[in-house]
Symmetry: C2
DNA sequence: TAATCTATATACAGACCTGTATATATAATG
DNA sequence: CATTATATATACAGGTCTGTATATAGATTA
């Protein structure tokens, strides 16, 4: 990938998160990235296309990072589930955390026919699906139910953290997750 | 309050939720409300002022409805806490549910200096504070911690429900809340 | 050196936005 | 009937936005 294209993606990711997607114009993006609109529209067919690529890259980065951590940090399926939120807390509190794109995007694009909304919705579903697969391997009865509950905690905490950095919400989400996982494992 | 003013507030509440705040122009609002911009700007000094009043009214409606339900539906403090999520589920699944304004608003106005963001943040804090007071009355040790966990579940579920109506997320949030509350009460 | 490819600089069209100015109609009140 | 308050109709100024058109600079390759 061209270095200019990745630079634009990086800058857009940052600006979308800190200023909002609709409130960030392409002029601002190219100015910060140190290039021009002509170049941006060479690599991206439209602003919507740029938004979709930003979302896509953010989600891929997160998912591959997370599954790597889980696979290398725990062997037993139940341990993987237990440690999930510790890795997520690392991600959230790391300096290069820029929020979960799909949470913000779904709020700014509420229309269900919008491609941006649809991608956000799909990413949220994929994340739940990943948790559910971990729960299934750990022999949790209602794996989908637990996955939904854990994802609610996760998304709520990310939102709280986005609203006020250093809120410590993820710490309490982690405690709650442990209680829910323990309960689901014994039953 | 003038009937035209309340009509504008009602329409704006609906459009902000279904189309997004920044994506809804005042021209659209007055067209749907059946009036003109001149009238809107007589009752509201600016669009930002309209947004703030919409948020304010939405939160007041929710909080007064919720505390009425809690007070009339349960006497023992621990029962109030237990039944909280049942009332919230009623609210969320009721036909006139239009989402929680402050969740969307904080996503669309991420700048912490924005008055809209500040009001959203304050409303989120007030809601947590309300849950914490119920937990305190029920003699929960870490009332603030439990309140934060419950609010994470709540906000996550509302977001999921906004993302896809009829997702049933609140049903699972309720189950998770019961587990967390039970654990906090016995310890 | 000449040709080609990539990025820049700049301007602009067309659309949408907020907020206001001006003039008119309609209803209530003296 | 006359006056006054309220709402409408309409136009527009000034700004921002996306996306494109045109012309130019710089670097790489033949």
């Amino acid at each position: 990938m061209s270095s200019l294209k990745s630079k634009i993606l990086e800058v857009a990711t940052d600006l979308f998160q800190t200023r909002g997607i609709n409130s960030t114009g392409v002029d601002t993006i190219v100015a910060v990235a140190g290039t021009t609109k002509m170049t941006l529209y060479k690599y991206f067919t439209s602003k919507e296309n740029l938004i979709l690529e930003v979302l896509d890259k953010g989600h891929q980065d997160f998912q591959s990072w997370l599954s790597d951590q889980v696979n290398s940090g725990a062997k037993k399926p139940s341990d993987k589930l237990q440690k999930l939120f510790e890795f997520i807390e690392e991600w959230v509190t790391s300096p290069n955390f820029r929020g979960m794109g799909f949470i913000k995007a779904s709020a700014e694009f509420p229309n269900e026919e919008s491609p941006v909304h649809q991608l956000s919705s799909e990413q949220s579903r994929q994340f739940r699906q990943y948790i559910s697969s971990l729960a299934s391997e750990a022999n949790v009865q209602d794996a989908d139910g637990l996955a939904l509950q854990l994802s609610l905690l996760f998304e709520g905490a990310v939102q709280a953290e986005q609203m006020k950095r250093g809120s410590g919400a993820m710490k309490y989400a982690k405690k709650a997750a442990k209680i829910l996982i323990d309960g689901a494992l014994v039953s």
